[in-house]
């Protein structure tokens, strides 16, 4: 019950009993409460107006890193009053240091500064209006004003550093990079031999061949190294999400996508992103730091969602992806996804599926009885069969047990091309 109401109830009861019994003592007992209530109202706190200005530094940050918030409130009006300033943090942000609430006496034109540090979960968050309560003389109750102090915070997903992601798409771009193309020229890996042409470097002459065929000169050609276009697809369908002890499984997918995007962009490649969930959200392929920021921001606002249209991967907008380009799908995978992935591979796309393991994630905290153990084994077997089917079609499938940190668990796997890649002669 609010304090004022409690005192009013006491007063009414005492007066009522006094009236009924016609006994003055009860009126006397009510006196302190009456005087207290009257004195409490002797303050014109509701006559004030306020303005507020918020500063957030930095306005973009990674998960877990602190964000400093400063709010400056200025009072306008006559007299002075006791003011409680409360800043409600947006959902997803939590207080790390300081207090998001302050009590101060303010005169006309005076300012009060509220400072605190917060950190948050991944997301794009807007601060709600500031709540300012001008308290009455005895701080019994107050007059609430909501003052807008807009600011936005972007908390980018955590992106563990991966040094290299081995990709070998059939189609490359024109700029020099790290990915061997199917064209001879300057490079490191041996590509072939051709007749010497004027201007060729003498150190590239193939002396053995020249000795065998003295009538002509031959020069070595090397595999040209180029950049490639890579499309990252993040599976944000609702069925790909699950929670365990408040921990979201989707966050692992986002983390993996952020890490891959960072690693591939660092090597100079063009990277695009498609978030496939309740709706489609995409970033067109691009290079460099700006593109990294675009992708990180898109990943920051990625949420799982449900849609009848996008419930299956069948409606993946394949026209976005140039033919023979590299596609990396980050998804826990469902059995019905296999058919589309095989079709994509058949069309010539180079396909990597990075699959955070949902079964291991769920089973970790389950106390499995004998029957449960069988169920777990059956689920794992089903997943392995799905992987085998995809690998047979030429899709590179990487299973990630999310209990192992991404950089530790996936580092080696991402660094190497699969052995069958060389056996099939896919290599340039």
């Amino acid at each position: 019950m609010p304090a004022r109401s409690l005192l009013v109830v006491f007063t009414y009861i005492l007066i009522l009993v006094g009236l009924v019994t016609l006994n003055g003592t009860f009126f006397m007992l009510a006196l302190p409460f009456i005087v207290y209530l009257v004195v409490g109202t002797l303050d014109g706190s509701h006559a004030h107006t306020y303005t507020a200005r918020r500063r957030v530094h930095p306005y973009r940050n990674r998960v877990g890193e602190p964000i400093a918030v400063q709010v400056e409130v200025t009072c306008q009006g006559e007299g002075q009053c006791l003011v409680q300033v409360r800043d409600d943090l947006p959902q997803g942000l939590s207080l790390v240091q300081g207090s998001a609430s302050i009590l101060s006496r303010l005169r006309c034109g005076e300012q009060v500064l509220l400072e605190y540090q917060a950190s948050g979960k991944r997301g794009v968050m807007d601060f709600p209006p500031l709540e300012i309560i001008a308290l009455d003389a005895l701080a019994l109750s107050g007059h609430t004003t909501h003052v807008p102090a807009p600011a936005q915070v972007v908390v980018l997903p955590y992106a563990p550093k991966v040094r290299h992601v081995a990709i070998r798409p059939r189609r490359t771009q024109v700029y020099a990079g790290n990915i061997p193309s199917r064209v001879g020229g300057r490079g490191v890996e041996f590509y072939g031999v051709r007749h010497y042409q004027a201007g060729d470097a003498l150190r590239h002459l193939n002396w053995r061949l020249n000795a065998r065929h003295p009538e002509a000169l031959f020069t070595n050609e090397y595999v040209r190294e180029r950049v490639a276009e890579v499309w990252l697809i993040l599976d944000a369908r609702l069925r790909s999400e699950m929670y365990r002890s408040g921990e979201s499984f989707f966050e692992f997918s986002v983390m993996a996508a952020a890490s891959l995007a960072q690693a591939i962009l660092t090597e100079g490649n063009r990277v695009g992103l498609l978030v496939y969930g309740g709706f489609l959200d995409w970033v067109y392929p691009g290079y460099g730091k700006v593109q990294e920021e675009h992708i990180a921001r898109t990943l920051a606002r990625a949420r799982t969602g449900e849609s009848l249209v996008f419930a299956h991967l069948e409606h993946l907008p394949t026209r976005l992806f140039p033919l023979h380009s590299q596609i990396i799908l980050v998804s826990p995978l469902h059995p019905e996804d296999a058919s589309l992935l095989i079709r994509l591979r058949a069309r010539g796309y180079n396909l990597i599926v990075l699959s955070p393991d949902p079964i291991a994630f769920e089973a970790r905290e389950m106390r499995l009885e004998e029957d449960g153990d069988w169920a777990l084994r059956a689920a794992q077997l089903e997943r392995r069969l799905l992987f085998a089917k995809l690998r047979q079609a030429g899709v590179q499938v990487l299973n990630w047990d999310v209990s192992i940190p991404f950089e530790a668990g996936m580092h080696r796997v991402l660094m190497r091309l699969p052995p069958w890649h060389f056996l099939q002669g896919v290599r340039a």
């Binding site: 019950m1 609010p2 304090a3 004022r4 109401s5 409690l6 009013v8 006491f10 007063t11 009414y12 009861i13 005492l14 007066i15 009522l16 009993v17 006094g18 009236l19 019994t21 016609l22 006994n23 003055g24 003592t25 009860f26 006397m28 007992l29 006196l31 302190p32 409460f33 009456i34 005087v35 207290y36 209530l37 009257v38 004195v39 409490g40 109202t41 509701h46 006791l82 409680q84 409360r86 300081g98 207090s99 609430s101 302050i102 009590l103 101060s104 006496r105 009060v112 509220l114 309560i133 308290l135 009455d136 003389a137 005895l138 701080a139 019994l140 109750s141 107050g142 007059h143 609430t144």
Partner: protein, 172 residues
Amino acid sequence: MKGLRLFAALAFGGSLLFLGLGFIGVLPWRYLALIGLVSYLVFLLALRSRRNLPGDLILTGIVGLTLLAAWLGHEALWLFLANLCALSAWDARRFINLLAAQDVLQEGNIVRLHMQRLGSVAVVSAVLAVFAMHLKLQLNLWIGLILGVVLSLGLKHISGLAMGTSPHHRGR
């Protein structure tokens, strides 16, 4: 903050003392002392709580007991003082919670001003009480009823003075 705590403890002790004086003759003084001691310890524990409910319950208990004592015809002055002290202790406790819930700028000034206002409440109440004790009025039922209605309307006006929000005590 320490000063406020001490004030709250002393005020509640005073309230129990005055209430005990009001109840002398109803119960043997040993029982009164025991009940008073237990209540005092409960209040000291409640002082540590960040919630307002324990304080509200204690104030309700004191007001209920003064009501009972007045009904039994005990000395009005002691009961008035018991009520006044209990109200002061309750207010100090609430104010401590308000200060503890957030950062406070110029805490000393804020506390001093609050105590001045609380002091003025005590003085005005005491003056009115002394005046009331010496005032002999013969009221008939109708005049009493009219006065009661006027007082009630005044209280209603005070309680509804655009002060809709209680301050937040757990802002941190």
